[in-house]
Every structure is written in C-alpha cells, then in structure tokens.
C-alpha cells in the first residue's frame, strides 16, 4: 500500500531526528516527573503500542500541556500519527487536548481507511495520558 507523502515525510523526519520529533521519555526520578501524565495503548501482539507522555503546568488556574514526548512501536502510519498528535498537543489546555479527535489526524496525514486504527490509537493515548495526569493530581 502506498502512503501519502505526509505520512512518509513525518515518518522519515521522526527517524532522522528523533529528539527533534519529540521522541523520548520522562522517567521516575526526573525533576518534573510529578507533573507528567503517561498513557500507553495497544499491544505487541496486535502490532501497535503507543506510549504518550504529557508534561503540564498550571497557568492561571488551568493545566496546560507545555511539553510532550512519545515512543511508538508500530507501522509507519502509527509512528507518523503519534508524531502528528504531539504537534497538536503542545500549548493546549487539558480540556482542549481532550477534544482532539482521531479524524483530525486522519485528515492531516491522509490516512487510508485500513490505517484509521492508528489515529484511534493516538486519540486513546491522549485520553489515557490526561486521565493519568488527573489521577496524579487527585493523589496530591
């Protein structure tokens, strides 16, 4: 199957310069780890696992995503979808991020029908990460 040029570009950009494409992780012990929400979705047996982390800061009473990182195991469009999601997240409030729908990723990357599940995975990842961040807050 041939992907759109956008998927190919995003994929290659990520591979060439992972750090610049926000590939990475925050781990326990890192300075701001208490302000990081993590969402992991998918399963190795299905061929897709996406791990998304969002770092939030309280700006004027609302939590804003100031930075985000990801790692993805999956096909080219899963990797491109994660990267696209990251670009959308930065600077958004949690409320705004919650509203991101997979269709936006499908439209930007022109994903073929058979790859729509990759964008669904990205949408689930952000929901998980937000839930995780909120549960951290509740534990404070």
């Amino acid at each position: 199957m041939a992907y759109s040029q956008k998927v190919v570009d995003k994929f290659e950009e990520t591979l060439k310069n992972p750090e610049g494409a926000s590939v990475g992780r925050w781990k326990p012990g890192d300075k701001d780890f208490h302000r990081v929400g993590t969402g992991i979705v998918g399963a190795p047996a299905c061929g897709d696992v996406m791990k998304l982390q969002i770092k939030c800061e309280n700006v004027d009473g609302t939590n804003k995503i100031v930075d985000a990182k990801f790692k993805t195991y999956g096909c080219g469009s899963a990797i491109a979808s994660s990267g696209e999601l990251i670009d959308m997240l930065k600077g958004k409030t949690l409320e705004e991020a919650q509203k991101i729908s997979n269709q936006e990723i499908v439209d930007i990357l022109e994903l073929p029908a058979i790859k729509i599940h990759c964008s669904v995975l990205a949408e689930e990842a952000i929901h998980r990460a937000i839930d995780d961040f909120k549960s951290l807050r509740n534990n404070d």
């Binding site: 996406m50 195991y73 096909c75």
Partner: protein, 474 residues
C-alpha cells in the same frame, strides 16, 4: 556450451551486444566489452554482468525505458525474488520469436500447415526442457497458467477422480494459499482435510504424515520449499510412506524447481506443481507433472478443445511455454552457480546481523534454501522497518503489509509469538543480486533497526528489564 554474445579476439573473450534499432544513430551497431578472460568457462561467468552493464547504455532516451523509469524512479535493491523474478533477457529473446507473423505465432493445435507444426515443435522442445530439469518423461508434463492452477488441478482433479476410494486429504498449516484455499473449498464439498502442524523449524516430518494417514486418505499435498521461510521438506521420505500406502502425493515445487535438485525418477512423487515466474520466466505459465508409472489420473477442470490430452483444454500460449522452457533450461545450466551465490549472500547477511540483540531466524537454518531468509527483529514492527529500508524491496509477515491485517499464518504455525511474526522480514535473493547490495543491506538494516528501537516503547521496557509477557495490555 552456449557462447551467445561471446566472441574471441587476441585470445581474450569479449561480450558483444547488438544495439536496438532506435539507438543505432547514437551508439552504433553494437557494443563490445572485454571479459578479460582467456577461457570460455570464466568468460561465461562474467557474461551476464557485462551484458547488464552494456544494456544500461540503452536506458537513456529510449521510449520503452522511459516508461520503466517512471515506474521505478530510484534505484531499489530487489530482495523479493521469492515473490517473483525478472525475466532473463535470454528468455525474452526466445519469447519474442513466437509472436509476430515472421515468428512462430501459429496454433500448435493446427495440424494442417507449417505455422502449426512450427509452434508445436517449439512447445514440445520447451516440454523437454522442463522434463530435463526434473528428470521425467516429457509426456508427464502438462502446461497450465501457473502454480495456482497446477495446485487446483492436482488437488481437485485427484480428489474428484478418486472420490470413490475416499475423501480424506492431508496437507499442512503452512502451505501456500493456492493449496490451503483449494482444501477449504473441498471441505465445503464434503471432503475431510487434516492440516498438519509443522515442527518448530517449520518442517513437516514423515512421522507426522504417517500418523495422519487413514483408511480413506486419497491425497497428501505438501510443498517442497516453503515460500516464507525457505525450509525444505523431506519429500523423498514422505513419498515412500505415501507410496507404501497407495496414496497420491502432490508436491508444490513452485519455489524449488530450478533452484535445488529435483529428480523425479528418484522420488515417489505423483503430482508436482511448477511456475515459470519464480525462476526468471514469464508470469502466467506453469506446469503440472503427472506420473505415468504408476499412472495417476485426474478429473480435468477445464473442458474444450482436448489440448494436453484432454487434461487441460485451451490453446497453448506458445510464447509463454517457450519462455518457461528456456527459463528451465537456463536454470539447469546455472543451478550450481546460482545456489552457491545465494549461500554466500545469506551468510553475509546473517553474519552481519547475528550479533545484534534480539534477532531470530524463522525456520530451520540447515535444511533450508539459502535464497529465502526470514528474520524477526524483536521490538520493531515489520512494516515500519520496510519503510525505513525504503530503497530495498523486501516483504514482511507483519499484519500491516497484508490485506487481512493478520500476521503471517506460517510464522504463527511455527509457534512464533505474534509480536515476532509482526517483526519479521523476508529477504529473498536471486540471480541478479550483487554482493555489494547484500553488504549495503546489512548496514542499512542495522541502522534502521537501531533507530526504530530508539523510538520503540517495547525496546525501552526490554532495556529496563520489564517482562513484556507479564504486562496486561490495554
């Protein structure tokens, strides 16, 4: 010996290639290059490479090649020979002689004039080329449209013909779809099928066949070389068992004919399927071997003009048949050379990659054909690896590259975990593979796997010492 394209000057063998008409203004009548060799044996070894070199001069500005250029815009290494092969130029030359009014365009079934006789002569010569490679009687070879049709004709044809004797068939879980789907169809027609499990190396053991045999078993159908993992079944031992039990033995040899030795006088195989396009012949032509002694009978699938002794009706496609014959003839000449090159390429690839962490070979390493090498790179998804290896054409057992979104049923049948099936890549080499392409691939694969692992959360967990099997995945 075939000295085509070669001539001797000052004691050294040269290669001479005629220039196509439309380029003669620019390039002259022919192109010549020295092999630097004094003996014909050595010159022959270099001929193909030099021919390809010389031919590259034709690619500039010719109307045909500009089309090809737009299909393949960049130089891509082809490592998917198990899928199909390019047609050898010598085969193309022969095929061209069977198309036009000046050539052997006639219907080989026309008995009343020279056009028909000439076509028939070429068809029979091709049949002999095929039977020579396999060491059987030419009368035991029936032309078909390819291995899929041969498999259909063999399995359905034998099952229908011998249905009064029984309706049980034995095959394996890792056959090609052209066998599996035929068996599924026969199940709908009240036949019973036993699908044998391969052992962990991907082989069907003679013992497994023996155990599955029943009173009403009429047919065993197994492949010779597996198309995904390259393992070679012991068809000699299995044939002994089927023969003793009076059961027909069909072997799909689409991947093996012309690549490894097949001697049908020495094997108890009753039916064998062949394809031309896996061995540098054209697509759309294949053959079925049908044993004469002891005689095997089939119910035909096509009915019509009575061609091929009524077993496969339809006007014979002379150019396709001649192409297959020439390809099989070349295969016989080149088998040893091809095989030793393929072994070398596989060793270069494996030696270059085996020290990486978490790489697995799928299928036995001994008892396997070196032209097909299937590996899994754990924690990296196969389709993404193929994308990263963008200038190398390979295939994967990953679900993402299949229409069904299921990972390879072959690798799963070997007991490989799904994630390793998703992470698999099949490299298949062939006659036109060059050593430097394999060496470049080693480096590219290493680099791409490392990069993809850097962005893989599974690799991260593995590095952290987390057991992935114990995680409950969402």
């Amino acid at each position: 010996m075939d000295k085509k394209y070669l001539f001797k000057r000052n004691n050294v063998w040269w290669v001479k290639l005629a220039v196509p008409l439309h380029l003669r203004d620019k390039l002259g009548f022919d192109l010549r290059k020295s092999t630097g060799e004094k003996t014909l044996d050595k010159a022959l070894l270099k001929r193909d490479i030099i021919l390809n070199d010389l031919k590259s001069n034709f690619s500039e500005g010719s109307p045909e090649s500009s089309n090809i250029k737009s299909i393949l815009p960049r130089k891509t290494t082809y490592f998917d020979y198990a899928s199909t092969t390019p047609v050898d130029e010598r085969v193309i030359d022969k095929m061209k002689e069977c198309l036009s009014f000046e050539g052997a365009f006639g219907n080989s079934g026309s008995r009343s004039h020279i056009y028909g006789w000439k076509a028939e002569e070429l068809v029979e010569e091709a049949r002999s080329n095929v039977s020579n490679l396999l060491n059987c009687d030419p009368r035991e070879i029936i032309w078909t449209s390819g291995a899929t049709e041969s498999d259909n004709l063999a399995i359905k044809g034998a099952s229908y013909f011998y249905s009064k004797k029984g309706k049980h068939i034995i095959t394996s879980k890792i056959e090609h779809k052209a066998v599996l789907d035929v068996c599924r169809q026969l199940e709908n027609e009240s036949y019973e099928v036993t699908y044998l499990e391969p052992n962990k190396n991907g082989l069907i053991t003679p013992e497994a066949v023996q155990e599955a045999i029943r009173e009403d078993t009429v047919l065993v159908s197994l492949m010779h070389i597996n198309n995904e993992i390259g393992v070679i079944n012991d068809i000699r031992s299995i044939g002994k068992i089927t023969r003793e039990n009076g059961i027909i033995f069909h072997v799909d040899a689409a991947q093996s004919a012309g690549k490894i030795q097949i001697d049908l006088t020495d094997l108890d195989v009753d039916l064998m399927s062949f394809s031309a396009h896996k061995i540098y012949g054209p697509k759309g032509i294949g053959a079925l071997y049908i044993r004469r002694k002891p005689r095997v009978r089939l119910q035909p699938l096509f009915h019509g003009g009575g061609q091929e002794r009524g077993i496969r009706a339809g006007t014979l496609p002379t150019h396709q048949i001649v192409g297959m014959g020439e390809a099989f003839k070349l295969a016989k000449e080149k088998m040893d050379e091809d095989y030793s090159n393929l072994s070398k390429y596989r060793d270069i690839l494996w030696n270059g990659l085996k020290d990486m962490e978490e790489v697995y070979v799928n299928g036995a390493q001994d008892n396997s054909f070196p032209g097909i090498f299937n590996m899994s790179f754990n924690f990296v998804e196969g389709e993404s690896l193929i994308m990263a290896l963008k200038n190398i054409a390979v295939s994967s057992g990953s679900a993402c590259t299949s229409a069904s979104l299921e990972p390879s049923y072959v690798l799963r049948a070997l007991g490989r975990k799904d994630e390793l099936a998703h992470s698999s890549i099949r490299f298949s080499f062939g006659r036109f593979t060059r050593e430097e392409e394999v060496r470049e691939t080693v480096n590219l694969v290493k680099d791409s796997v490392n990069r993809l692992r850097e962005i893989s959360p599974l690799w991260e967990m593995y590095q952290d010492g987390i057991d992935l099997d114990k995680i409950v995945w969402a």
